[in-house]
C-alpha cells in the first residue's frame, strides 16, 4: 500500500516538474480535434516525454517496449494525470484501441512491428471504420479490398478519420467479399499503411471552423498481403473486439489521457465568477439546483464505475454499466457544456477569438466539439439501441 502511495507521489512530482508550458494557442480538447501542426507537435512531444519517463504502457510486455508492471501502476499514473490536468497524449487510437487489440490477437510479427512505435508516438494510428454513407452502421462498409497476387488493392473512402493527416497506420474495415452469405462475413480487417500511393487524406472543416477530422480516399492503393489481420472474413468480429477497447468494456489499454476532462467542478468555478443580477451566478437558487443535478449525475456515473468492480452488484445485467458508459458520459458532458454557456448570460453569445469571451471562447468551442463524442463511435441514438437490445433484450428496430 505504502509503496503505491510512494509511487503516486513520485508520479505527481514528475508530472508537475515536466508538464509542458502553456502554449500561446488554444489546445484541442480531445485527440479527435487535433487540427494544426503546432497542436500536434506539442502533444506528440509530450507523449514522447511521458513514455521515455516510463509512464505509458506500463503494463504492456517489456518485449515490445512496455513496462511489464502491474496495471495498478498505470491506473495511478492516469489518475494523477487527470487530477493535475496535464495535456493528453495524442496517439489514443494506437495506445488504447489498436495496441491492446494487437497484443490480444496479433501475431508475434505484428506485435514487434507495431507496438513500440505506438508507445513512442513514432507511429500515429488512425481508424477507418465509418464511411460517408454509413456513419454508425459499420457493417454496411463498402470500401473494397481485392487480392492482387500477394497484395491487396484498396478502393473507396473512410470518413471522420481523426489524426488522418499525421497517421502512419490505419485500422481498416473493408469488404473483401461482396457476395458473402451475409454482410458481416464479407468484411476483413487490415493494419494498413497510410504512406502508399493512392491514399489521399483531405481535412474536414468542422462546425467550429477548425480542422481535426479527415476523409481518406483510396484509389487503387496497394498494400502488402501481411496487412490483413486475422483471416479473411473475420473483419466484423475483430472490429467489434476493437470497440470493446474503444468503449473501455475490455481492459488492456496503454493509458494516458485522451482528452482534457471538463467536469462539474470546472463549471462550479465558472459559476462563482460570472454574475447574474449583480451577484455570482452560484447564488441563484435555480442555477444551484441545476448544478447539484449535474453533480449527482457525475457522481452517479463515477459510482457506477466503482460498482461495476463488484460482480455481485451487477449480476442481473452484467453489461449494463459498461455498455451504457459512452451514452451516459458523452450526453452528460454535452449538457454540462451547454449549461456552462447559459451561465454566462449575454456573454454566452461570444465565440472563440472575441477578446471578452470567457476563457477565450473555450466553453462555446467545447460545447460544439462535444457533439463529436455524442455522434462519433456510434451516435447516442445508436448507443441507446444497442443498450436496449443487448442489455434489456428489446426487439430490434
Amino acid at each position: 500500500m505504502s509503496e503505491l502511495d510512494d509511487f503516486r507521489a513520485e508520479v505527481a512530482a514528475w508530472l508537475e516538474a515536466n508538464r509542458p508550458p502553456e502554449p500561446d494557442f488554444l489546445l484541442p480538447e480531445t485527440f479527435m480535434e487535433v487540427g494544426t501542426d503546432r497542436q500536434f507537435e506539442y502533444l506528440r512531444d509530450w507523449q514522447r516525454k511521458v513514455y521515455e519517463a516510463g509512464y505509458l504502457g506500463m503494463a504492456w510486455p517489456k518485449a515490445y517496449g512496455g513496462g511489464g508492471q502491474p496495471q495498478v501502476m498505470q491506473d495511478i499514473v492516469n489518475a494523477e494525470m487527470a487530477r493535475l490536468k496535464v495535456p493528453f497524449v495524442p496517439n489514443t487510437i494506437g495506445l488504447n484501441w489498436a495496441g491492446p487489440l494487437i497484443l490480444a490477437i496479433g501475431t508475434e510479427a505484428e506485435k514487434q512491428k507495431y507496438i513500440p512505435g505506438i508507445l513512442s508516438a513514432e507511429d500515429i494510428w488512425c481508424q477507418g471504420f465509418s464511411e460517408p454513407d454509413n456513419g454508425s452502421d459499420l457493417a454496411a462498409a463498402t470500401t473494397r479490398a481485392v487480392r492482387d497476387g500477394d497484395d491487396w488493392i484498396l478502393n473507396g473512402s473512410k470518413i471522420w478519420t481523426s489524426l488522418g493527416t499525421y497517421a502512419k497506420y490505419m485500422i481498416l474495415l473493408a469488404r473483401t467479399n461482396p457476395d458473402a452469405e451475409n454482410r458481416y462475413a464479407g468484411l476483413s480487417y487490415f493494419l494498413a499503411p497510410m504512406d502508399v500511393p493512392g491514399v489521399d487524406v483531405q481535412p474536414i472543416r468542422k462546425l467550429t471552423g477548425e480542422y481535426g477530422f479527415t476523409q481518406t480516399f483510396f484509389t487503387d492503393a496497394r498494400i502488402p498481403g501481411d496487412c490483413l489481420m486475422g483471416r479473411e472474413g473475420e473483419g466484423w468480429q475483430i472490429a467489434m473486439q476493437t470497440l470493446t477497447f474503444e468503449r473501455s468494456v475490455a481492459g488492456g489499454q496503454a493509458g494516458g489521457l485522451s482528452m482534457n476532462a471538463v467536469g462539474v467542478q470546472d463549471v462550479l468555478e465558472l459559476a462563482r465568477r460570472v454574475k447574474r443580477d449583480g451577484r455570482p451566478a452560484i447564488e441563484d437558487p435555480i442555477i444551484r439546483d441545476e448544478l447539484v443535478k449535474f453533480l449527482i449525475e457525475e457522481q452517479g456515473d463515477r459510482l457506477c464505475g466503482a460498482r461495476a468492480r463488484h460482480p455481485a452488484l451487477i449480476s442481473e445485467r452484467p453489461g449494463a454499466i459498461a455498455m451504457s458508459g459512452k451514452l451516459r458520459g458523452t450526453e452528460h458532458k454535452r449538457r454540462l457544456l451547454q449549461f456552462a454557456i447559459t451561465l454566462q448570460g449575454a456573454n454566452g453569445a461570444r465565440w472563440v477569438g472575441d477578446e471578452r469571451a470567457e476563457r477565450g471562447g473555450l466553453w462555446q468551442r467545447s460545447y460544439f466539439n462535444a457533439f463529436s463524442a455524442t455522434i462519433g463511435g456510434g451516435t447516442s441514438q445508436v448507443q441507446a439501441n444497442i443498450v436496449g437490445e443487448r442489455v434489456l433484450g428489446l426487439p430490434k428496430d
Partner: protein, 378 residues
C-alpha cells in the same frame, strides 16, 4: 472548493452478497403482484406469516447489537433486504421497525434493553415524526412533552405513522422545553381512538394519524438532549438509505414490467419495443436504475466505513434525490407504455408509480434534498 470531498467508496461483502441473494429469492416467491393486490385490500396490509418468516431469518434484528439479541450487521446489510422488498412491492412492518431500531439505538442502555431484545424476537416498532403541515424537518416537531415528576405528558398530532395499528412500540418525536425529544410508547398505552387510518396514494402501505392529548410516559422512556438529536439523525439516515434502496428495487420492477410488455405487444405489425420512441426512454430508465443502485450502495458503504456525518449526509441525499426522480419517471413511463391497458386498474404499472410517489414524498423529495446538497457542496 467544495466543503465535502466526494469519494467513490464501494464495498460489498460476501455476507451481504448472500443476504441479497436470499432476500431476492424470498420476495420473488412471497410477493408476486397477485399477493400484493390481495394485501392491498386487506385490513392489515401484510401477511403475518411472511413477517414471521422474516423475523425468523433474523432480518428484523439485522441492525440490533448482539448484546440486545440482534446480529449487529448494520444498516449496510439492511439495504440488501430493502432493495428486493421494493422490487416486489412487498410491504411489511420491517421498514418502520428498522427506523424505530435506529432511533432507539441512540437511547441509554436501559431503554435499549427494554425495547430492542423484543424487536429482535419479532416485536414491531414504528416512528411518529411528521405532523399535519407535512414538514420534512424532523427537528421542528410541534408535539409537546411536558414533564411532571417522573412522568411526561404528550400532546399533539402526528401523521404518516406507518403500521401504527400493528406496532408494539411507537417512537414519537416532539419538543421538551423547546428542544427536540422523543418518547417510546407501548401501543397498548394509547387511548382508544388515538389512531386514524390515513388514505395514501400507495395502497400497499398502512399509515395512521396519531392524536395524543396528555398521554403519560414514564421518564425512563424518554430520549432527550444530544441523544434526541442523534436519534433523529439516525432515523433520517436509515429512512433515506432504505427508501432509496426500496426505490432502486421498484425501478427494477417497473423496468421488468415494461420490457415484458414491449417484447409482447404488437402494434402496426411490429413488437412495440422495436420503436425507438419506447426503446430509448426505457434505456433512460435503465440508466436511472444503474445510477440509483450505485448511489445507494455507495451511501451504505460510507455508513459501514464510519465516514463523517457530512459525507454520509451528502451521499444519502444524493441517493434519495436520484432514486426519487428515477423511480417516478419509471412508474410514469410504465403506465404510458402500456397504452390503454396502462389506464386500467388491472395493469400493474400503476402500482409502481404509486409506490414511487409515496417514496418520493417520504423524508424529502428531490428538490428538498438538492437544496440541502447545494448548501453542502456549492
Amino acid at each position: 472548493m467544495t466543503a465535502v470531498k466526494l469519494k467513490a467508496t464501494m464495498t460489498f461483502s460476501e455476507e451481504q452478497s448472500m443476504l441479497l441473494d436470499t432476500a431476492t429469492e424470498f420476495f420473488r416467491s412471497k410477493s408476486p403482484t397477485s399477493v400484493v393486490r390481495d394485501l392491498m385490500l386487506s385490513e392489515d396490509g401484510y401477511d403475518d406469516a411472511v413477517w414471521r418468516e422474516m423475523v425468523d431469518l433474523g432480518w428484523s434484528g439485522l441492525a440490533i447489537p448482539e448484546a440486545c439479541g440482534g446480529s449487529d450487521l448494520g444498516l449496510a446489510a439492511a439495504v440488501t433486504i430493502a432493495e428486493p422488498m421494493g422490487r416486489w412491492l412487498s410491504a411489511t412492518p420491517w421498514l418502520s421497525t428498522q427506523l424505530f431500531v435506529q432511533g432507539v439505538l441512540a437511547a441509554d442502555d436501559a431503554l435499549r434493553s427494554a425495547c430492542l431484545p423484543a424487536v429482535a424476537e419479532g416485536a414491531i416498532g414504528t416512528v411518529a415524526l411528521c405532523e399535519v403541515d407535512g414538514d420534512w424537518d424532523l427537528e421542528a416537531a410541534g408535539l409537546t412533552l411536558r414533564e411532571t415528576g417522573s412522568q411526561a405528558a404528550l400532546s399533539g398530532t402526528k401523521t404518516f405513522v406507518l403500521n401504527a395499528d400493528a406496532a408494539d412500540f411507537l417512537l414519537i418525536s416532539g419538543n421538551l422545553e423547546g428542544a427536540p425529544a422523543l418518547a417510546v410508547l407501548d401501543r397498548e398505552s394509547l387511548p382508544a381512538g388515538a389512531l386514524h387510518r390515513e388514505t395514501l396514494i400507495d395502497d400497499t402501505r398502512r399509515s395512521f394519524e396519531l392524536i395524543l392529548d396528555g398521554v403519560q410516559v414514564p421518564d425512563d422512556r424518554l430520549i432527550r438532549g444530544e441523544r434526541a438529536l442523534t436519534a433523529l439523525s439516525r432515523i433520517r439516515n436509515a429512512a433515506l438509505l432504505l427508501i432509496s434502496a426500496e426505490s432502486a428495487g421498484g425501478i427494477a420492477g417497473a423496468l421488468e414490467v415494461i420490457v415484458e410488455y414491449l417484447n409482447t405487444r404488437t402494434a402496426f405489425g411490429r413488437k412495440i419495443g422495436s420503436y425507438q420512441g419506447l426503446k430509448h426512454p426505457t434505456v433512460d430508465i435503465l440508466i436511472g436504475l444503474e445510477r440509483t443502485r450505485s448511489h445507494v450502495y455507495h451511501a451504505a458503504s460510507l455508513i459501514e466505513a464510519g465516514e463523517s456525518e457530512e459525507a454520509i449526509d451528502v451521499a444519502l441525499r444524493m441517493a434519495k434525490a436520484q432514486a426519487s426522480e428515477a423511480f417516478a419517471f419509471a412508474g410514469d413511463r410504465a403506465i404510458q407504455f402500456h397504452g390503454g391497458f396502462g389506464f386500467t386498474w388491472e395493469c400493474d404499472a400503476q402500482l409502481y408509480l404509486k409506490r414511487a410517489l409515496w417514496a418520493q414524498y417520504a423524508f424529502g423529495d428531490a428538490i428538498h434534498h438538492r437544496r440541502h446538497l447545494a448548501e453542502a457542496l456549492l
